[in-house]
Symmetry: C2
DNA sequence: ATCATTAATCGTTAAATTACGATAAGCGAT
DNA sequence: ATCGCTTATCGTAATTTAACGATTAATGAT
């Protein structure tokens, strides 16, 4: 059995985890949740990273579907797609369906 | 603010996500959960990958603390650390504390 | 029309990841 | 003591990632 039936689901979960798999991107998510929505420049001003680097991380998060970016004039405003983030938490929980939380 | 107070927590979360950020490693977790515990060779026989590659992925999961490996003679038996996996799900959920699940 | 601001993209470099075959190491059985 | 089985590690090559500065593109204001 080289390819489980639900490989697309697995690939999707892996992609989401991969996008979260860098401290800077978790920090960005944190900041977006804290301020609800942020201009790219706001994040640049908070993190000790070049603008191009922040933009790259935002791109990764956006392509994974974890954040949404809407252009507002010359600026781009980002916010977390909470549905996707919640779905990720649910998907990870669902990996261990047989476990009752009280057992752990 | 270049360094949030809870940076170690953030780094830990990122490390866990990074470990899960590859389809093969999710497949391995799946298999370990399905059979409860597995010899390395069992996983090699299921996945279309070389033994050294599987061993490498197991190492990544083990170093992240998501699986536990115990040597049994010449074999090594792996199983998921369900506490850690549950903690990961909880940590991701905790990113959005203000949200009630009914809202989404 | 020009200018300033903002963000995305390009090009580059260094480092990390992934995959493999080959080899080594550990253990049980003969 | 040796052999066979199992797994970890080594060495390597190809790909991807992460970071940066520089440039481009787009918009709003002058």
């Amino acid at each position: 059995m080289t390819t489980p039936e639900n490989q697309p689901t697995i690939d999707r979960l892996a992609a989401l985890c991969k996008a979260l798999g860098h401290p800077v991107r978790i920090n960005i998510l944190h900041q977006l949740l804290r301020e609800d929505r942020c201009i790219c420049g706001r994040i640049v001003e908070i993190l000790p990273l070049a603008q191009s680097t922040v933009s790259q991380h935002l791109k990764v998060l956006k392509e994974a579907g974890l954040i949404i970016g809407e252009v507002e004039g010359p600026k781009t405003c980002y916010c977390v797609d909470k549905v996707q983030l919640a779905a990720l938490a649910t998907a990870i929980s669902a990996l261990l369906p047989e476990i009752k939380l009280e057992q752990i």
